[in-house]
């Protein structure tokens, strides 16, 4: 593991380096993925650009109902943020499941996104929050809905001369509940076999709108439209939950890989959904 090291202290400095003529180096934020990949010789960059000191990317802000998270906000800070506990509980629960306390204190939300792993725990949560990913480039910022940002396994729509600077989403209203459920080999330091995130709004005791996303079952996060429509207009009775769980397992259409089998994942997707719905019913 040998490389040149460059520290940048502002976003504009970072963009200048990324837009230069030389082949840009690898960006270091939390380091929990990059340094492992370098240690294991999966990549061997000539240069590492350290953005971890850019203070302007560490803010959690709320303005006119929208929450903006700087790309360098760590999972640990998300789990302890009062405003996010109140308005983005699904994201807080997903961050609490990432890695271990040590990893959560290093790893950043922006890093989880650019890695674009189908099993990244914050991704399904950001799907159901309707998040937009803010990318900065030479010509200014552009915002992409998360569905358009995630292109495939470990592939995102970010360009080499761009920097992911923030994530923006509307805060959950008082009539909304959310949850994130994950199944891994063990409770800490385990990559998800299946994860389920949901945000559900209620009106007069029945579901008025719902968003559900499954992580780790396909090449990217998937939504479950049939499960969602079967819940709308219903109260969360045991019968309704059981029907939603059954449809969710059908819609999962998971893949088999080293971590789990398709059948098991499908079944667990429904089970995790039922568990989450049961808790908020």
């Amino acid at each position: 593991m040998k490389f040149n090291y460059q520290r940048v202290n502002t976003v504009s400095e970072a963009l200048e380096v990324l837009g230069g003529n030389n082949k840009p180096g690898k960006i270091l934020a939390g380091g929990t993925d990059l340094l492992v990949m370098i240690q294991e010789n999966i990549i061997s960059p000539d240069e590492v650009i350290d953005i971890s000191g850019i203070e302007e990317l560490k803010k959690i802000e709320e303005a006119s109902g929208k929450i903006r998270l700087g790309a360098l906000v760590t999972h640990g800070r998300i789990t302890s943020s009062e405003i996010l506990r109140e308005k983005a509980v699904v994201l807080v629960e997903s961050c609490a499941e990432v890695g271990s306390p040590q990893i959560r204190n290093l790893g950043t939300i922006g890093g989880n996104l650019v890695m674009a792993s189908p099993s990244g725990d914050t991704l399904p949560a950001l799907y159901v929050l309707g998040a937009e990913i803010i990318l900065a480039g030479k010509e200014g910022e552009r915002a992409l809905p998360i569905e358009d940002f995630m292109v495939g396994v470990k592939k995102s729509a970010i360009r080499p001369d761009e920097l992911l600077v923030a994530i923006s989403f509307p805060g959950m209203g008082e009539d909304s509940r959310g949850f994130f459920k994950k199944l891994g080999q063990r409770k800490a330091l385990a990559i998800s076999k299946v994860s389920v995130a949901a945000v559900i709004s209620f009106q007069d005791g029945v579901v008025s709108s719902v968003r559900i996303a499954l992580g780790a079952v396909a090449t990217t996060v998937i939504r479950t439209p049939r499960t969602e429509s079967c819940l709308v207009g219903q109260a969360l009775t045991p019968e309704v939950i059981s029907e939603a769980s059954r449809i969710c397992s059908e819609e999962s259409r998971a893949i088999t890989d080293i971590r789990s089998t398709a059948d098991y994942r499908d079944e667990m997707a429904g089970l995790l959904l039922a568990r989450g719905l049961g808790e908020i019913a």
Binding site: Y5, R7, G31, L35, D50, S100, P101
Partner: protein, 160 residues
């Protein structure tokens, strides 16, 4: 390649030390500063043997680059006792026989200290969660958890 100089607070004292930029904080501590209490285990952030406190929060020092600690505050297992006076956590680990081979223990104690710094009456579940990033292959964890409970109780008594 050129070495770079890093200045930071280590166990309460300012240090200035040079190292190649690809050195991790763990290597910097062990190979340049002679502090071998933090252990290399998996060196990919999964075992917790190298845990240190960075600005008061537990992190795996194998996943932090040396230049990233510029201007920051690092506390290692060596900085947890006050001279020859063991920290209550260290004494409790001895009294409760929470140590077998000992390799994971510095990381365990650092993670437990991060918990007790914020929460002086942790529940059993909170203790388990606090050390969930530290793997021990000898003890089965029961005595480690008990040691943290004993330390918390003693620290509470000392306050009264």
């Amino acid at each position: 390649m050129k070495e770079i100089t890093v200045k930071f607070i280590l166990n309460g004292e300012e240090v200035s030390i040079s190292a190649p930029p690809w050195f991790t904080l763990l290597r910097l501590l062990r190979e340049r500063l002679g502090l071998t209490g933090s252990k290399p285990g998996c060196e990919r952030g999964e075992c917790g043997a190298c845990t240190v406190l960075l600005d008061g929060e537990p992190v795996t020092s194998c996943l932090v680059l040396a230049p990233q600690v510029e201007g920051r505050n690092v506390q290692t297992i060596e900085g947890i006792s006050e001279g020859d006076n063991l920290h209550p956590l260290q004494q409790a680990f001895i009294d409760e026989s929470a140590v077998q081979c000992g390799y994971c223990i510095p990381g365990m104690i650092v993670s437990a200290k991060a918990l007790l710094d914020k929460n002086d009456t942790p529940t059993r579940d909170e203790i388990k969660r606090a050390i969930s990033g530290n793997i021990c292959r000898c003890t089965g964890y029961a005595k480690i958890i008990r040691a943290v409970e004993v330390a918390a109780e003693r620290m509470k008594e000392d306050e009264i």
